[in-house]
Symmetry: C2
Subunit: 186 residues, 2 copies
Amino acid sequence: MKQYLISKKIPISDENWQIFAGKNIRKEYKKNEIILKEGEIDHYLSIVEEGIARIFFVKENKELTTRFVFRYQYVTSYDSFLERSPSRCTVQALTDMVIWHVHYDDLQVVYKTSPIGNLIGRLTIENIYVEKLKKEFSFMSESAEERYLNLMKEHPELFQIIPLKHIATYLGITPQALSRIRKRIC
Amino acid sequence: MKQYLISKKIPISDENWQIFAGKNIRKEYKKNEIILKEGEIDHYLSIVEEGIARIFFVKENKELTTRFVFRYQYVTSYDSFLERSPSRCTVQALTDMVIWHVHYDDLQVVYKTSPIGNLIGRLTIENIYVEKLKKEFSFMSESAEERYLNLMKEHPELFQIIPLKHIATYLGITPQALSRIRKRIC
DNA sequence: CGCCGAGTTGAACTGAATCAAGAAACGTGG
DNA sequence: CCACGTTTCTTGATTCAGTTCAACTCGGCG
């Protein structure tokens, strides 16, 4: 798994990797299971080995999806994890899942005992951040239809697996509007 | 400046801080000066000591503002800096500015010679990321009017300094729409 | 079989975009 | 310090993408 998480440019010795990886615990979730509930503090930094998750928050009884999480990505309410504050988001397994996670306290130990912690921490959040930048870019400059077509291209597997309504809110529109876009395109 | 950049929770020795700070170079910009042009690679990680900057990209001849950068924040086209790729964004000084910046190559040296580099790197990007999460949250769940009122509350100084049209595109609307919102609120 | 959630479709409505024109503010040179 | 041109802001009319509310279909499942 190491090579997926870490930028190819920066070599990490196996010993150093073990310091981090050794703290990780394997965990399984069933389809539709809740991994983290809104209001709870996220104590774990979790990486996906198998399956897809979604992260959403609730606004006026509607679930607004902010992110889908795929293989080898981190699935976390990262601000909750960092700031030790109640999560605004819920994290849910969309398929059966296998993840590896490390507890906040254990991660602090890694940070203290080896430089590898900060390196891995920095590289992973840099990744997530660049993802988020792309999403901001597309929200500011593209129409819902363009965002839909891009998502289709980048993650066609999503459409086989999950309800369209989640995709709709991820795109920032209602399920009805998505339905009409799909009809229009055909 | 140290205490502003680094989370209060994590102490950093003065020697370690110097390793990083010693690589930083002071630089001044005049109001309206371009700090980084679209298409260029951002070679510097820059922190604001004085003044305000904005980051924007161009879509169909319109400048869309993605971020305002205030004192003690990092002003960078961070994905360009990280990935050594041409920046999609332009960075412009909105007032006279003083910044401190460290060159990419020098930062790599810091990363190699001292754990402080990755720590500072991790903490700063964590900050920027949490900021971006908040913005995403507000874009998905609030109206343009709500976003305007929030910005008013958090950064009233902006409104004295910069053209409203930049604020409009930052809020994700046209200058005309902002004008109408302001009229409505009054 | 009947129920329920997901998806589609229609009609009315709304916030914001667009196009266009005029008013106010700004800054630069004479 | 004023005059002029440019930029910024406002206002109006029209259009459009997407919302809301409501009704209906379809497929899976107890």
